[in-house]
Assembly symmetry: C2
């Protein structure tokens, strides 16, 4: 069947199985715990009531008459239905960008968030999730041929899926290493080194930024952001700023500052020239609506024809309506005085508390284990520990013919039923032995606390036993 795209299996990592059958019988566990994905609801975190109530009413408007639902829920649903063609979430979006009402809501949210730096509805485009947005935009930038192949400077570690995504659209991943010992901060010299190394071999066109960092949990400070912007301006690079975890910063004295805000506070020299595409999504830590697949991008300083193309990349398909409504709710949550405010505020606080407490406890535990080190996370849903393997593990991996980190994850999955994310999925070279694990729940610990079991896995596989106890 024609030219099937080649996908590099190296960056695929492993997937948690959907059923235990595929792992064979006689396992010391009854279910598989997948900690490699950041999916909150799958990990048992409850959705935000206000979001679900409004969406339920939008789907079944008879509920507008249901007085047991809060008044602000019904009012919001009524307003959102008014923004849909024919008053139904079942109609196509009227524009390939999305619903104009939601574009306006998002622009107003960004303006508030950025202390008055204005955002414009026509710069907002909706997508089926932020990864889909990244994929389509990279595809638009892609030129596959030799020295003119499009290159994108990419942080290592980067969000999992990003390496396979670049591979699929034919964009060259140009790695810039984040500085582990500084909590995975961006190093400007390293950015310059990576760019210089790439020139002549391909055509570097953009820098990918993940802030707050996925999977590192690092939060960039204003000074770093300014320097990255200056670098992009000097080198003529487009900024691709993935800012999905902006709602989940919990590190002390840390706060999220958007690239858009800093760019516009640096004066016209930058604010009128540097091309910026920033990404946000409903699959965040607090909303957690991964299954709905909704995201927006804000497109700054792009040629209007290119912006139109970004919108048209989805078209002739209009983006799904319901995730857009979810975005509208996310950027306009209940405010003090609204009937739903108290519940909403409690739910958000609970999620943020779970995140920050679990991240801290798991990090402390990991750093107490021999041969394991972990930088504290300041935001987001992951920890990203480094494990120093005993030589016999590396040998065993080599004999089995897969990268050591993937081998470790596979064995961990098969013997303990816990699915970690191999560092290679985050662009790591496979020799570094880093692993991604979400911090949503710590209950997996208890599963392995029986002494005899501990002994068995200690004996067989070095540190694996300790790690099992952590997540």
């Amino acid at each position: 069947m024609g030219s099937v795209l080649k996908v590099n299996p190296r960056v695929r990592g492993i997937r948690a199985p959907t059923g235990l059958q595929s792992l064979g019988v006689d396992k010391p566990f009854k279910t598989v715990t997948d900690v490699s994905s950041g999916d909150p609801h799958r990990a048992g975190i409850a959705p935000i009531s206000f979001v679900r109530q409004v969406l339920a009413v939008c789907l079944y408007p008879e509920l507008l008459k249901n007085n047991s639902l809060p008044l602000d829920v019904r009012q919001r649903a009524q307003r959102l239905l008014g923004a849909c063609a024919g008053g139904s979430v079942g109609s196509y979006s009227v524009s390939c960008y999305g619903l104009p009402h939601v574009q306006k809501s998002v622009a107003e949210f960004i303006t508030r968030r950025d202390d008055g730096v204005s955002s414009h509805p026509e710069d907002i485009i909706f997508f089926n999730g932020s990864q889909k947005a990244v994929s389509l935009i990279l595809y638009l930038m892609a030129c596959r041929e030799g020295e003119t192949q499009t290159g994108v400077l990419t942080p290592i570690p980067c969000p999992h899926n990003l390496p396979s995504l670049m591979d699929e659209v034919g964009v060259k991943l140009l790695p810039y290493q984040l500085t582990e010992e500084r909590g995975w901060a961006v190093d400007l010299h390293e950015l310059q080194r990576a760019l210089n190394a790439a020139r002549g071999h391909c055509n570097p066109r953009a820098i990918y930024i993940s802030n707050p960092g996925n999977p590192t949990g690092h939060v960039q400070d204003r000074e770093t952001i300014e320097k990255v912007i200056e670098f992009a301006a000097a080198e003529g690079l487009i900024l691709l700023a993935e800012e999905v975890y902006q709602d989940s910063v919990y590190g002390q004295d840390k706060e999220f500052v958007s690239y858009k805000k800093v760019l516009f506070e640096m004066g016209q020299k930058f604010s009128e020239t540097v091309e910026l595409i920033s990404f946000h999504s409903i699959s965040t830590a607090c909303m957690g609506e991964c299954g709905l697949r909704g995201a927006y991008v804000e497109v700054i300083n792009m040629d209007p024809a290119v912006k139109l193309h970004i919108g048209n990349m989805q078209g002739p398909f209009s983006p799904p309506v319901l995730p857009q409504l979810a975005l509208d709710i996310m950027v306009n949550p209940p405010t003090p005085g609204d009937p739903s405010y108290k519940t909403y505020a409690q739910e958000i606080l609970k999620i943020q508390t779970v995140l920050s407490q679990n991240a801290q406890r798991a990090c402390e535990f990991l750093n107490g284990l021999p041969g394991v080190s972990c930088q504290p996370a300041m935001a987001g849903v992951f920890l990203y520990p480094r494990v120093h393997f005993p030589p016999r593990m590396t040998e065993e991996a080599e004999m089995s013919g897969v990268a050591a980190d993937v081998f470790y994850c596979q064995t961990f999955l098969e013997e303990e039923g816990v699915c970690l994310g191999a560092g290679c999925e985050n662009g790591q070279d496979g020799q570094s032995y880093l692993f991604r694990a979400h911090v949503w729940k710590l209950e997996t610990r208890t599963r392995f606390e029986k002494k005899e079991h501990k002994k068995k896995i200690h004996g067989h596989f070095g540190h694996r036993g300790h790690l099992v106890n952590t997540f």
Copy 2:
């Protein structure tokens, strides 16, 4: 910004504006009526209650306790929630193909529909709408280079968006003309002619079929389907069977027969060799859930590696969950004895009656106009009339520099506020003057019934006045 894909503006046609401002002031109408899109809810058709009730409960499971909702609604929602990771529609699908529970439901539906010809869950893959599925599969097949460029035999007229979609992924559209005087039936000689003409210039790999036909409303009979399958088998072509309007056949003595069923009833020589991908969607006439964006494909006789690639085309992104649940409801509607059955059956009957009555009335009206002819539709939501332009209209179009059919639609939109679909969007050459219009409502007629207005448009633009009165 890199290599922006070139999109042929010729196949773009026009879009209904989202606001009247873009059309200027002082119009003799207050709203724009878009009859170019098949979107039922936008045209005022109500959604199916059972579908919306179940989805609302899935989104807000507190409604499981709401006794005013029918029991079968709550039971179905409970079952569907059990199929979602973490019991939430907010979790990612566990597999890039979709939820295994829904794969199974769809396979069972197909088996029932095809009188026992079995379908297998692992052959079912979910997508964000059938157009997205077509687009990704064409992309997978695409080879852009010269004589080896992938070609797809495509009916003319074809579903609107298909020409632009093929253009975007770089597949060559190889037109085979449907026979207008036989109600837009497929002609096997024409299929062979189109293939012969293409050989040597590109690499023909597949035949695109739309049955029931979009926009023609033609329903293929078993004999035709057998011949098309024999042709595909003899020429080594993949069958791409878009069967989205299978739920809306209203022509007398007409019934939908799937390509899959006929293929498997033709014996092993065909059933074990001919590659078939069939498409179905929740954006059908009866469900009408266009805004949710949900579709499945059934993949038959494909190399397992290719099938895996089709699934992976979406992944690392898992398909949205809610449209999958809507698909599950579509293929498992309430049955006699269920609390929701009576309402459901009434709603479906009402939609089917509106479709068949409107299609007949509008067709009769059109055929009564001088210079207009229209084949009766047997299924689906469109009529596709031919208009014979007076010479001065063609001249006026030429002077304005656009194709005559687009010019006609633009003027029609600007002067009457009705947006027709230009035939060029359906792959027509622009000299034929055919137009697509849905048959959901006839109320637009009344808008133009004032004598003085009629006179004005008659005087100015030939048949346009008549046509306005029809939809």
